[in-house]
Symmetry: C2
Subunit: 273 residues, 2 copies
């Protein structure tokens, strides 16, 4: 079902940027996309990607994005600087900083470029799972504001509930889409790359202090393929590889409703406990 | 077997940097670590990591590194700028650029920090394979200069040979160590993260124009665990997820000889054909 929204979607409000007379681009945090401490990392990543897309000299489509969460982002305004470090014939490299009160809170690098027809194949098939319509929505506790903007249908690896206990592996498989629904594009796909809550919560069966240190997204589909998904759910699957001495990595895949692998994403996460 | 080298190891020569009176740090490409076009990406990544490690204000150990190969690196000298963008109590974020003749050839971001004891577990066991001593060395054609600096023992997914044909999957499993052998540290581990030749060669059964666009390494072990490996082989396993419209991603794991997961690494690669 496609809902046509007369008002801007909350997601678009949350990543909105305005260019000032001083040449700086400014945004601000939004209550509706807050995490337990500071904004949802996915919305920050999407905002940085959007800062490049909004540049008149931006070349082609997003190919990759790495976001480093260097320090806390306080409620309120921030500035983003986006610098085209190098522009080649078919690729363009960007360096970005998100600054608050003169301190760098987030850094990022992005690669944009033109795609062209080549041999193609996918090796990672979408897991065979029930349709999202056959799964009950839910899974995040209500105090996690940003999660209220997503329709989650967990197939396995939901967040720890009331009597969770430890879990033998860190795999989560989940259908997800924006709530209210919104056509997929590179910004919403970027945000969805960060919906996989810290895997240590699942393993330990409890919420612990944890946060993404650095996040990378590889965009494996073009704009037309994202548009073809419309506002249908994506299927995501995430897992960790190793937890050791305060850090762990986690990797995830995001497939379109019809099984196209749209993005792979990886992050390093710090944790306590 | 541990070989004690009286002379500096070629790897250390290749990542060597000198600080000039002008505050710039300079290195140069080395014939022995060249790839088909320009230097081996792994040696560039290791040199950038080393630039941070050489800074007196460097905090802790490497946690992650992302290197963006923005343009070609010509034979000869280059300058590296390394900027501590933000220093927190337990983590430090760096932004780096490798410049030749005023043009940025490579950008990078790195996160360093202190590790501390926490709950720990690994979910990705080392594949059960024969010991490196039981596998014949080889696998790279002799014209790939950098590969002569490694002892490779391929278990599966070796490079296309004389009558290769297409391969149904992109997985390579290989024992690797420096040749001559050298104790493992974060710089050599970084370089080994890039030894997994472009997966499209394996799938298509031929060498094609291809190169890494962006590379990320997550360091999942501390310096003591790397040191404990000594100069023993590491086991690496790599695979791609999707090839589409000129780009593909590939991910790999690197285990110590005794099965500790030392690093996970991911890259986006362009290709033609």
């Amino acid at each position: 079902m496609t809902e046509i929204e007369a008002l801007p979607h909350p997601f678009d409000g949350a990543i909105e940027l305005t260019a000032g007379d001083d040449g700086l681009v400014r945004g601000r945090t939004r209550a509706e996309y807050m995490n337990m401490v500071g904004p949802f990392g996915g919305i920050t990543a999407a905002t940085l990607l959007s800062a490049v897309q909004g540049r008149p000299d931006c070349l082609g489509e997003p190919l990759s994005l790495t976001v480093n969460f260097a320090g806390p982002i306080a409620d309120g305004e921030f500035e983003i600087t986006a610098r085209a470090v190098r522009t080649n014939r078919s690729t363009q490299h960007w360096a970005l900083e998100l600054v608050q009160d003169g301190a760098v809170a987030t850094t990022a690098t992005a690669v944009f470029g033109y795609r062209r027809d080549t041999w193609a194949d996918a090796e990672t098939d979408m897991p065979s799972v029930p349709a999202p319509e056959d799964i009950a929505p839910g899974g995040f506790p209500d105090f996690v504001a940003w999660a209220r903007n997503y329709d989650f249908r967990f197939l396995d690896g939901a967040l720890p509930g009331e009597n969770p206990g430890e879990h033998p592996d860190s795999t989560t498989t989940v259908w997800v889409r924006d709530k209210p629904s919104r056509p997929l594009d590179f910004t919403t796909l970027t945000a969805m790359a960060d919906i996989f809550y810290p895997r240590v919560f699942l393993r330990r069966g409890q919420f612990l202090p944890a946060g993404t240190v650095t996040l990378t997204v590889y965009f494996l589909a073009d704009a037309a393929e994202l548009a073809a998904n419309g506002d249908a759910h994506l299927l995501g699957r995430a897992r960790a590889h190793r937890f050791s001495r305060g850090f762990f990595d986690q990797s995830a895949q995001l497939w379109s409703r019809t099984g196209g692998l749209l993005a792979t994403t990886h992050q390093l996460v710090y944790f306590k406990g």
